[in-house]
């Protein structure tokens, strides 16, 4: 069972990587309630694609688990799992627990 803290560490590592790749953009922050996507979000749609791909790859490389985050199930939720870092961490923990 993967604990939530490990998931957050992976998300934070991806944020560090993207901030380094995008020096001209305002840096993404790591607070749990930091808005990722949507109104006042730090990512545009293409940025979200990069971020989600980065998190999926990091989960595969670090934990050896293959998950699809941008699934129909995720998109169908009324409360988007990509809204904040906390929601994303909860969503990943839920997927890994299934």
């Amino acid at each position: 069972m993967v604990d939530r803290q490990s998931i957050l560490q992976i998300i934070h590592a991806v944020i560090d990587e993207l901030n380094a790749q995008w020096p001209d953009r305002p840096p993404m922050t790591k607070e749990g309630d930091a808005v990722l996507f949507g109104r006042n979000g730090s990512l545009d749609s293409l940025g979200l694609v990069h971020f989600v791909v980065g998190v999926e790859q990091a989960l595969a490389e670090t934990l050896g688990v293959n998950v699809t985050l941008a699934s129909d199930k995720a998109m169908a939720r009324q409360s988007s799992p990509f809204r904040t870092i906390d929601r994303l961490a909860d969503f990943i923990a839920e997927l890994l627990g299934e």
Binding site: L46, H50, V53, Q57, E61, N66
Partner: protein
Amino acid sequence: MHDRRVILITGTSRGIGRHLADHYRQQGWAVAGCSRKGLEDVPEGHLHFALDVADEPAVKAMFAAVRERFGRLDALVNNAGIASMNHAMLTPLDTVERVLRTNVAGTFLFCREAARLMQRAGQGRIVNFTSAAVPWKLEGEAIYAASKAAVESLTEILARELGGLGITVNAVGPGPIRTDLVQGVPPEKLDELLRRQAIHRFAEPADVANVVDFFLRPESDLVTGQVVYLGGA
């Protein structure tokens, strides 16, 4: 990270795929290939996987192995494909699903996974396989031509989606070529097809490799979203 350029080619057990694998290995590339059945004589340095190109978990596992072994992917050639020749009124749905699954879903899966691996390097080359059956609108090849038309659309749209990542996406479309795909086609039908071309001869695997070479050249980094038909289809 591996010091040689790495190319992944699908359908490398025979025909054009096998020729391309040999061609790029001779040019010093590290080659990863796949086919439904395993290879009996896997060349040294060649990474081979036995899989169905539309089997998502297997394809993901292959890319994970490529990433682990080489740490990079410079080029993808989506050569694997199947054909079906039959009148539309006699074509079973199973055949439709099988052709679309291999030719469209398989090509898409490999493009997606390759782009994920290539994006970190900010460069990459993807070459898909279409067919002269698309512009020729061949009777008896409705499903095969439709699957290749879908591959052309994929190529053109992925070129735009991935262009910003330094990844080019192009397609090559051979006319008649002596491979297993045309084994069941009568000689007179093949002659008729050759007469449609601007140059009336069969394509050889080397003709295909020549176009792929062009797409893979570092100088071709502004060439994307293009379809090249051999023989002047």
